[in-house]
Symmetry: C2
Subunit: 567 residues, 2 copies
């Protein structure tokens, strides 16, 4: 079945669940009213259905590859990129004065999600550019902005992020790439970077790398790291991609999926770079880019989950089963359980994603610290739960297909193979969980408690009209409150980190219930209320086990010696 952009679902969530009207009511986004929203989502959705979705299998069957040092991308990807670029979909929330649309991040997030569902491996390319645009907007000099931003926003050029080195992944402070001042304000960058998504392509005039490296006086660890912009081709006097710079792709990884997106090993050999942000302030600049990218990666998970759900549903509605109520396997009890679970989780993950984006918009529009804190709190949840949902839903989609699920021609397995890396890149989901249980609780849990209060208030108000839904949500939120209090009270960070991942997943379960309840209240007695009831009765109870594990602490985890871990 061809992929259908979930435009009406996004409109419903933005309008009735995450408060888009509040965003459009701010002076900053006054021109992004409901009519614009609907028009933009519809137009982007059409492009995704017509142009991107047909490319999905191409990328898998004909991976991007190096041919005599030149990158050859998958068939049709150049046209796909062109459609994304010409539609303006790289710069949905990009700065207007450099050619972006200046729309809210929540709109860009919805569109990114739809592009991911249509063709994840290609969508990763504009996502990387968007992160770079955001970083340059906040940290680069005016000259750099004037030169690079219009070209990145138009899609003539593309952007990448270069953090990882063979010995420095999560432990980014261990990196060894060097930057030597050349005396003319530029730097010579030397070193090797790995896992560089879309490190090159054959459909842009220039590829701009944002590279973390250490200046000669940079201290060891993260505090001695600076950020540099290193274009593949040095811009000439007219701002065109000119002479080749000292950077090249030396190999492309063989991955389990996402074959259409070349994951490159990059070699920098005295390449010319420009400092972005302060010397030794690379991590701060990188975080701007990563926060944007984390939201985007969460959206990748949701997008793939949506596509995998659509395909599994189509199969289940077509495949005959004599003994089920309607004669198709969608009415087989266990298949129904899988389908409803997938659908309910896509809703939950999407709502969390858009709520996070909407909080970012409100922070941007109002400067209110509470909104910033809300966005910061939700970002690791949106990233980790979004991508876990992508994996789980794709995984369940395979199961719905039965034997056909493992046969590559159906495409069900590709969703899982493609989406798997999203739980790893831009900070593994474990890192997201530690961010939530550590950094995001450095306010003593204040931001979390404010959200918990809101969820309980909603449940209280809903008790009269929907007691069977509101009661369990309130109860679960109390458990989340107690767990959060326990967490914040732990002095030894390992006690927090030991259960950080189940804490994040339990938190997401409850947020999902909150948003399902919002949907049920917005459209009582319809399909949304029925889905909310399934989620709250069948899926919400999962939080009990997750939050119990969240409180289990480090001592039980570290009781075994390292050599006792072997069988």
């Amino acid at each position: 079945m061809p992929y259908r952009a979930p435009v009406s679902e996004h409109l419903f969530l933005l309008r009735h669940v995450v408060g888009y009207d509040r965003i459009a009511a701010t002076p900053r986004f006054v021109e992004a009213g409901d009519d614009i929203l609907a028009a933009v989502l519809t137009e982007a959705g059409r492009m995704c259905e017509e142009v991107l979705a047909p490319l999905q299998r191409n990328g898998d069957l004909h991976p991007a590859r190096l041919e005599n040092g030149a990158m050859r991308t998958s068939p049709g990807y150049a046209e796909g990129w062109k459609a994304i670029a010409e539609g303006g979909w790289i710069g949905v929330s990009g700065p207007v004065d450099h050619g972006g649309m200046g729309l809210p991040i929540s709109v860009a997030t919805a569109i990114n999600e739809v592009m991911s569902g249509a063709c994840l491996s290609l969508q990763l390319a504009p996502l990387m550019s968007q992160g770079q645009i955001e970083a340059l907007e906040h940290h680069a000099s005016e000259e750099i902005k004037a030169l690079y931003l219009p070209r990145l926003l138009s899609g003539e050029w593309s952007g990448t992020m270069n953090l990882t080195e063979p010995q420095a992944g999560t432990d980014v402070g261990a990196l060894t790439t060097r930057a030597e001042p050349k005396g003319d304000g530029t730097y010579a960058i030397t070193g090797q970077k790995i896992y560089i998504s879309w490190g090159d392509s054959d459909f842009v005039e220039n590829v701009c790398h944002l590279v973390l490296a250490r200046l000669p006086d940079g201290v060891p660890g993260t505090k001695g790291i600076s950020l540099f912009l290193v274009p593949r081709n040095l811009p000439d006097a007219d701002g065109r991609a000119g002479q080749a710079n000292g950077v090249k792709v030396i190999s492309v990884e063989h991955k389990m999926g996402l074959h259409g997106s070349p994951t490159c090993v990059m070699e920098y050999d005295g390449a010319t770079g420009w400092l972005v942000g302060e010397a030794h302030g690379g991590m701060a600049a990188m975080f701007t880019m990563m926060n944007n990218a984390r939201l985007g990666v969460g959206g990748q998970g949701v997008g793939v989950a949506e596509a995998a759900y659509q395909q599994a549903l189509a199969h289940a509605l077509e495949r005959k089963q004599g003994r089920s109520r309607s004669g198709v396997i969608a009415d087989h009890a266990d298949v129904r359980r899988m389908l409803l679970g997938m659908k309910a989780d896509v809703f939950a993950a999407r709502a969390i994603l858009l709520a996070c984006a909407a909080a970012g918009d409100m922070a941007k529009a109002t400067g209110d610290a509470d909104w910033s804190a809300r966005a910061a709190l939700l970002t690791p949840i949106a990233k980790a739960f979004g991508t876990e949902t992508g994996i789980r839903v794709s995984e369940t989609g395979i199961q719905v297909h039965g034997g056909m699920g493992v046969i590559e021609e159906t495409g069900a397995a590709q969703f899982l193979r493609d989406v798997r890396v999203t739980a790893i890149y831009e900070g593994t989901n474990g890192v997201q969980a530690m961010d939530l249980a550590g950094r995001k609780m450095m306010d003593g849990g204040e931001a979390a408690m404010r959200l918990i209060d809101e969820i309980e208030d909603q449940a209280e108000r809903a008790r009269a009209s929907a007691p069977d839904l509101a009661g369990p949500v309130w109860e679960a939120t109390e458990t989340l409150r107690e767990t959060t209090e326990w967490l914040v009270a732990q002095g030894d960070m390992d006690d927090r980190f030991a259960g950080a991942m189940p804490y994040l997943m339990g938190f997401a379960r409850i947020l999902g219930a909150h948003f399902h309840l919002s949907a049920a209240l917005a459209e009582p007695d319809g399909a949304r209320e029925k889905l909310a009831r399934f989620y709250i009765e069948a899926m919400l109870p999962e939080h009990t086990g997750l939050l119990a594990q969240a409180r289990s602490g480090a001592s039980v985890l570290y009781a075994l010696d390292l050599d006792e871990l072997a069988s």
Copy 2:
């Protein structure tokens, strides 16, 4: 890191957890004492480490393929098969009078698991032969047994199972393959079968297919199905593989994994077959084969989980992380949580598997109906939880590897791609769950309650010495008891089936706790007790959510119309 056969773990479990001594004390297995057990497991383990494990990547990189109609298997697989055959590992529990070792099924199950961990795609070949041997032993004529069993047991010939057709998967009664009597006691078999594992190879003299087909007077549905033995080559007067029969492989599927095992589309064009068992009694004969195969497939899941755990642990002990306690990522809290979860689940799934096999042995040796009922009850749990564990542990293994997890060279992704189908073949895990909640409860829940009583008795006895472990196990088992009572009381089977899968998974969680407690009691104050504590504190609480979903019933599941399932 090279794969290490978990021989000492199997010995511990067989000796101290599932009561192997009781099996060896029966007259039937009196010659299978502890010394034989240790010698056989050690010898099989060595073969797996030295011969099979090095083939694992070969199968993935060089899939079995058809070349001008002839099957070409992956490099080294012929030698691997030879080592399996010559070691006698096809016939560990096979009949002695035809060349088998006649050892308990629990021993064969342990060895099958180790072969799976070493090289799953090749191990599937002897597993298929074993199922056929079991079916022929119970249902074939003496002539067929005398001709086929010695050759299948020695590995000169191999066996397959042919159930599925394009329109008849789980719904096997829909099959259309025909069997026409030829008047000489044989039948002409005509039809197409799909998903036939090891439908052909280049390392045996003959491939023997057990084929479900319908006789001219067979009624529609499962009651009109008969079972036929259809060799690729017709045996000549000397019992050698002679003239080609009317059966051929017409294509090999492109699967997401298990590339070394050719999954074939078979065409039968008037092929000569022999009836096995009664006319129209094919399902009964097939079930003999499937029960054996289900246990075997559960073992495949456990084997892959073990191998994936070993590899993830080796990576985590090697990969540096500056800030962890010991400087390697295995001491990073979130990585430790993953590793302990993997290890604890491998233990749980293996214990369930071996307990199921041991119950089968006791049933065989004593004829006691309670043991048969115990084996029947545990079979769907062993199959589904074993394979879910294979998937989850492989999945977590990828995450432990970080970015390297999705790079194919590490092998982490292959475990997941290979093991994924085990949740689907030999009856999907959803079918296993319905078997547990349906057929296996037709005794009114008696067999389940007997097991629940045993678990509670153990917990009661352990209260004095290990209250922190025994208390939660007893509590959880009470919830399982209540859920089982609820289940048995439901008249509408859809109410049982709606939550059958979470019921099975919750049941497995509690069985896992029971066996972890057994291990802790057998070796107090050591690594086993620490692992049991982690499982009981951090993982057992998952049962709450699972069993709540088990009781959620069909109404909430069928509330949405089919067209409301679309977004």
